[in-house]
C-alpha cells in the first residue's frame, strides 16, 4: 500500500450526516474525503469524475436511491468499493446490496470505529458487515440454498402459457381455450406441451394438482395443508 491517503466519497442527502461523517473520517490520518453528493444521480456523476477508492452511500436518497446508484457505479467502475451506510437493517436490503457488489453494509447507529474498520476491510477486498447484521445474512444465505422448486419453474412460463395453464387447470377443453384466446387448437396443444415440459410434469392430473397447490384454481373445501 502506498502512502497515498484513501480517497473517500460521501453520498447522503443529509448535510448533517455528511458533516458528521466527514469530521469522523478526517480525524484518521490515512483517509481523505474528496467529494460529496446529496442524491444518487449526483453521486454517480461525481464518482465518475473524481474516481474515489471508496463510496460511502446511503440508501434512502432522492432522484436515484442508493440501490440503483450502487448498481450503476459498480457497472461503470467495478474497482470502486462501495460501503452502504443505512438505517435499513432488513436482511433483504443487505443481501440485495451485497449481491450488487457492495463491500460493506453498516447501520447508521454504527460507531466511527466500525466505519473505519469497514473502510480498511474494503481496501483489502473484504466485505464488512455491522456485527448486528452478520448473523442474519448467514441465516439468509443458508435459507437460500434450497433447491429450485416447481414454483420457481412456473416463473419461466410466458404470460400466454400462464393463461393456458390456468384454463387447463380450470377444466376447459382445448377447443374452448382456442376459442377464448382466438388461436388454433394446435397452438393450444403446443402451449400445453411447452408448459408440461417447463414445469417438468408428466400428465394433466399432475398439472391440475400443481395448479391447486399454487392456489390458481379456486377449489372449495381444499385441504388446508395441501
Amino acid at each position: 500500500m502506498t502512502d497515498q491517503p484513501i480517497k473517500i466519497f460521501l453520498a447522503d442527502d443529509h448535510t448533517i450526516v455528511r458533516q458528521g461523517l466527514a469530521k469522523l473520517l478526517e480525524a484518521e490520518p490515512h483517509i481523505k474525503v474528496i467529494g460529496e453528493a446529496q442524491d444518487g444521480r449526483e453521486a454517480v456523476n461525481k464518482v465518475q469524475k473524481l474516481n474515489p477508492d471508496i463510496v460511502i452511500m446511503d440508501i434512502a436518497m432522492p432522484l436515484l436511491n442508493g440501490i440503483e446508484a450502487t448498481r450503476q457505479i459498480k457497472k461503470l467502475l467495478p474497482q470502486t468499493k462501495i460501503i452502504i451506510l443505512s438505517m435499513h437493517s432488513h436482511d433483504r436490503y443487505i443481501s440485495e446490496l451485497i449481491s450488487l457488489g457492495a463491500s460493506g453494509y453498516l447501520l447508521k447507529d454504527s460507531t466511527g470505529v466500525e466505519i473505519v474498520k469497514a473502510v480498511s476491510a474494503a481496501m483489502k477486498g473484504d466485505v464488512y458487515l455491522s456485527p448486528s447484521i452478520s448473523r442474519r445474512v448467514i441465516d439468509d444465505y443458508l435459507s437460500l440454498k434450497k433447491t429450485s422448486t416447481r414454483e420457481d419453474l412456473y416463473a419461466k412460463l410466458s404470460n400466454r402459457e400462464r393463461e393456458v395453464f390456468q384454463m387447463i387447470a380450470e377444466g376447459h377443453s382445448t377447443k374452448k381455450i382456442s376459442d377464448v384466446l382466438c388461436v388454433s387448437p394446435s397452438t393450444v396443444k403446443t402451449h400445453r406441451a411447452n408448459i408440461m415440459e417447463k414445469l417438468q410434469l408428466d400428465n394433466i392430473t399432475q398439472l391440475i394438482q400443481f395448479a391447486i397447490r399454487l392456489g390458481i384454481v379456486d377449489v372449495q373445501n381444499q385441504d388446508f395443508d395441501s
Binding site: 447522503d12 442527502d13 443529509h14 448535510t15 448533517i16 450526516v17 458533516q19 458528521g20 461523517l21 469530521k23 469522523l24 480525524a27 440508501i59 434512502a60 436511491n65 440501490i67 438505517m87 435499513h88 432488513h90 433483504r92 436490503y93 440485495e96 447508521k108 447507529d109 460507531t111 466511527g112 414454483e151 412456473y154 416463473a155 412460463l157 410466458s158 404470460n159 400466454r160 400462464r162 393463461e163 395453464f165 390456468q166 384466446l181 399454487l214 392456489g215 390458481i216 379456486d218 372449495q220 388446508f224 395443508d225
Partner: protein, 544 residues
C-alpha cells in the same frame, strides 16, 4: 226436408188413418223443431237456391221475411266469401256431410255474421244429391270474445315485454325502445315516439322513435301540443295530476327539422307518482281511433307502467352515480392516506432520523476531542448517545409502520417477508407465505395495495379467527394476479358478514381490490376458516 222413410202401404183403413195421424204428428214435431231453433237452418237445392229456411235464419241474417231472403236468389249470395259456399258444397259432395265449418255470412245491412256450419246432402230417389241442408250457429259473440281475449293477451304481452326489459336492463332507453316497438306492433301502427319532459330545461326530449322521418332521438324536438295551456303546465310547472287511472289523451304536432312538414300525433301521458314525466305520441291514421276502448286502456296502462320504469331508472341512475362517487372517494381516501403515511414516514425517517445520525457522529467527534481533564463529561455524552439511539430506533419503528420503505425500495415480496417474519416473531400463528411467478416487480400501486390487503387479512385472522395457521399466496397468472389469504380459524357466516366485527376490514379489502378493478371473493363459514381470493387484472401483453 229430411229423408223420412215412407211407412209401408197400409193394410186397413183404420191403419191408414192412424198412420196419417202419426205422420201429421211427426211432421208438426219436426216443424216445431225447425222453426223453434235459434240456430239458422236452411235447405237448398243443388244449385244453391233456397228451398226452405227457418225463422232464425231470417232474423240472424237481418231480413224482413223468408220471401225477402229468398229474393236474394241463392245461398251463395249470403256468403261473405263465395269460395266458402263452394267448399261447403264440395265437401258434402265428396263426404256426404260437413261439420263445424267456419263461415261468415253477409247480413242484409252488410255487416257480418260469424257462423259455425254443419250440413249434409239431400238425396234424391235416384241416389243423387239433389240439395243441401245445413244448420249454422251464430258464433259472432264468441269470436268477439276470442278477439277480445287475444287483444288482452297482446296487451299483457306488451306489458310483460316492457316488464321483462325493465328487469333485464337498467338502461331506460332500451326499455322505452321496447315499449314503443311493442305498442306500435300491437296497435298495428307504423310510427310513433316517446317524449320525456326535462323539467329543468322546460323542453320535451325525444327519447325513442319509430317511423317518424322528422326527428333524431335525444334532441329537444319541435313538438307542439294543441292544448297550449296543457303544454305550458307540463313544461313549466311540476304539474300535479288529479289521481285518475288514465289521463285523457291529447293531440300534438311534430314538425320536421326544416319546419316544413308536420305530423299530427295522438298522445298519452306517462305518469309516475301523480306527476307527468313524458308521453307516448302515436301516429294513428284518421280511420283508427286509439283514444277509446281497448287501445285507450292499453296505452293508459302502458303510460302508468312506463312512469314506473322511468322513476326506477332515474333512481337507479342516482344510486349508480352515488356508488361511483363513493367508490371514487374511497379510492381517493385510500390513496391520500397512503401518500400521507408515506410522506410522514419519509420525513420521520429522513429528516429526523438523519438528523439524529448526524448528531450521533458529532457527539462521537466531541467525545474524541475531549481533553482528559473533562473525562467526567464522557459519562453524560454516553448517556446522550444512548438516548439518541433509543429515539432513533423508536422513530424507525413508527416510520416503518406508517409506510415500509422496503416496499418501494425492494418490492412486495421482501416487504411482506419482513412484515410477516416480524408478526410471526410476536405470535404463535404459523404463517406460510409465497409469491410465485414474479420475475420483475409489478407496478407500485398494485404492490402497495396488495401489501395493505395482506396486512388487513392477517390482522383479521389475528384479531378474530383464533387460527393456528395462516397462508398467504400471491401468484402471477395471466391475465390476472391471484391473491389468496386463508386461515384455519373459527370462520363466520359469510352471508352475514356485514354485521360482523370483521366487516370493516373485509370491506376495506374489497374496496382496495376494486381500486385495481379486482374481483373479491370471500368464503367463510362457522368452523371452517376464512378464505379470501382476489383476482387483479394485469395489463401486460400475452407475449412477454
Amino acid at each position: 226436408m229430411t229423408r223420412i222413410k215412407q211407412p209401408k202401404p197400409a193394410g186397413s183403413p183404420v191403419d191408414v188413418c192412424k198412420l196419417q195421424e202419426d205422420l201429421k204428428d211427426s211432421e208438426s214435431r219436426y216443424r216445431c223443431l225447425f222453426e223453434g231453433s235459434k240456430d239458422m237452418i236452411f235447405i237448398t237445392f243443388k244449385d244453391g237456391s233456397f228451398q226452405d229456411v227457418n225463422q232464425a235464419a231470417v232474423e240472424l241474417l237481418g231480413y224482413d221475411s223468408k220471401a225477402d231472403l229468398f229474393s236474394v236468389g241463392s245461398a251463395e249470395k249470403v256468403y261473405h266469401n263465395t269460395m266458402h259456399w263452394k267448399v261447403f258444397q264440395k265437401q258434402i259432395d265428396r263426404d256426404g256431410f260437413v261439420k263445424d265449418f267456419e263461415a261468415k255470412f253477409r247480413k242484409k245491412d252488410g255487416s257480418l255474421l260469424h257462423c259455425l256450419l254443419s250440413g249434409n246432402a239431400v238425396w234424391g230417389k235416384d241416389g243423387n244429391i239433389i240439395g243441401y241442408q245445413g244448420i249454422a250457429k251464430d258464433i259472432t259473440a264468441r269470436m268477439d270474445a276470442i278477439r277480445n281475449f287475444r287483444q288482452r293477451h297482446h296487451e299483457l304481452l306488451v306489458l310483460n315485454s316492457v316488464a321483462f326489459a325493465m328487469n333485464k336492463t337498467h338502461d331506460l332507453n332500451a326499455v322505452l325502445e321496447i315499449a314503443l316497438k311493442k305498442a306500435l306492433e300491437v296497435l298495428e301502427l307504423k310510427a310513433g315516439a316517446i317524449f320525456l319532459i326535462d323539467h329543468d330545461k322546460h323542453i320535451f326530449v325525444l327519447k325513442s322513435q319509430h317511423g317518424l322521418p322528422a326527428a333524431g332521438t335525444g334532441k329537444s324536438s319541435q313538438i307542439q301540443l294543441h292544448d297550449k295551456a296543457l303544454m305550458t303546465s307540463l313544461l313549466e310547472e311540476d304539474l300535479v295530476l288529479i289521481p285518475e287511472p288514465i289521463f285523457p289523451p291529447f293531440k300534438a304536432v311534430l314538425l320536421s327539422p326544416d319546419g316544413q312538414a308536420s305530423i299530427e300525433l295522438t298522445c298519452f301521458l306517462i305518469t309516475a307518482k301523480e306527476k307527468a314525466c313524458g308521453f307516448l305520441a302515436l301516429d294513428a291514421p284518421p280511420d283508427k281511433d286509439i283514444t277509446s276502448g281497448q287501445d285507450f286502456h292499453l296505452l293508459g296502462s302502458l303510460g302508468n307502467f312506463l312512469g314506473g320504469a322511468i322513476e326506477n331508472a332515474s333512481l337507479l341512475q342516482t344510486i349508480a352515480r352515488h356508488r361511483e362517487e363513493l367508490k371514487g372517494l374511497t379510492a381517493r381516501l385510500f390513496q391520500s392516506q397512503e401518500l400521507e403515511r408515506k410522506r410522514i414516514a419519509r420525513e420521520l425517517h429522513d429528516e429526523a432520523g438523519q438528523a439524529l445520525t448526524g448528531i450521533n457522529f458529532t457527539m462521537e467527534t466531541i467525545e474524541k476531542e475531549l481533553s482528559s481533564e473533562l473525562i467526567h463529561i464522557k459519562e453524560h455524552i454516553l448517556d446522550v448517545k444512548k438516548q439518541i439511539n433509543r429515539t432513533y430506533h423508536e422513530m424507525r419503528r413508527i416510520s416503518y409502520r406508517l409506510h415500509p420503505s422496503i416496499l418501494s425500495d425492494l418490492g412486495l415480496e421482501p416487504a411482506l417477508d419482513v412484515y410477516l417474519a416480524d408478526i410471526s416473531k410476536h405470535s404463535d400463528l404459523k404463517i406460510d407465505f409465497k409469491m410465485v411467478g414474479f420475475e420483475d416487480r409489478v407496478n407500485p400501486e398494485i404492490e402497495s395495495i396488495l401489501y395493505r390487503i395482506s396486512q388487513e387479512a392477517l390482522t383479521n385472522t389475528l384479531k378474530h379467527a383464533a387460527a393456528g395457521h395462516f397462508k398467504l399466496s400471491i401468484i402471477k397468472s395471466y391475465p390476472q394476479i391471484i391473491f389468496l389469504a386463508e386461515d384455519d380459524g373459527i370462520g363466520f357466516d359469510a352471508g352475514e358478514f356485514r354485521g360482523h366485527q370483521q366487516a370493516l376490514g373485509l370491506l376495506s379489502m374489497r374496496e382496495r381490490a376494486a381500486m385495481l378493478g379486482g374481483k373479491f371473493t370471500l368464503r367463510a363459514s362457522p368452523g371452517n376458516g376464512t378464505r379470501i381470493r382476489i383476482e387483479i387484472p394485469i395489463k401486460e401483453s400475452a407475449y412477454d
